[in-house]
Symmetry: C2
Subunit: 151 residues, 2 copies
């Protein structure tokens, strides 16, 4: 199996869970936050989606960009669908050799890492914030939650 | 760098953060849970520590065991220190070839995976629950929290 196909499988095993959690967030809970200093639910979800997409762009030697403008009113389920599709497209375009290419992310991490390492960091970042989101969604009243990874 | 040294670095970049969060949990908060159906803080921490140790034992073709008995009153910081030390010892004993060895975890995952793949699953499992723990610790009143990974 090529590295990009393998990575996409792994990414989606977590992203499908992220999307399932997002589907449980009603719009009246978009501004929910568990404590005054916590990130709001909507902001947390956008951070997850935008970060992974940015990491995938960096891995393709492209600068980050957002897929929805400031005033856009698309709901989080729609955003998750679009970001997931565009992220998969970016990863699909990477060859096995591209995974070994060094990417200059020294402004963020203080060092260069390979595209493959960067994508590993990206998935771990999503798992971390998905772990936050599990607690948020339970606090919104949901008790039937998925496992943290989809097999 | 050998695979075990590389993996230990990666594991500790997350475990050090887990330990920092644990150090913020006062004993009166051990039974804290954000919702009635959530895991209690103490149980969540023990689950993180015991799971990673069990995965490391599986990777060494050993069955899981607990390092503290049922009635043991050691606090969570002490438990984290002991589990971390014993987990590192187990991983240190794996050769590069051992990382490729297939491990029969079909009772848990429905399939065999290599020791290296199992350890990747183990770290992702810790990142997920550490992500839960961040929200717990913030709800206990802490606002100065570490980054999710230590560089």
């Amino acid at each position: 199996m090529s590295k990009n196909a393998h990575f996409i499988d792994h990414f989606l095993s977590h992203r499908e869970v992220t999307k399932e959690l997002i589907s449980k967030i009603d719009s009246e809970h978009y501004s929910f936050k568990p404590t005054p200093t916590s990130m709001e639910a909507e902001k947390l979800v956008n951070h997850i989606l935008e970060s992974m997409y940015s990491f995938a762009r960096f891995a393709n030697k492209q600068q980050p960009e957002k897929l929805f403008g400031e005033g856009d009113t698309s709901d989080l389920v729609k955003r998750a669908d679009v970001y997931t599709e565009e992220t998969v497209k970016l990863i699909s375009s990477l060859s096995d050799e591209d995974f070994e290419q060094m990417i200059d992310v020294s402004q963020i991490f203080g060092k260069e890492v390979s595209a493959g390492q960067l994508l590993t960091i990206a998935v771990e970042h999503e798992i971390h914030h998905k772990g936050n989101l599990f607690v948020y969604v339970r606090e919104m009243g949901h008790t039937e939650l998925p496992l943290y990874i989809k097999s």
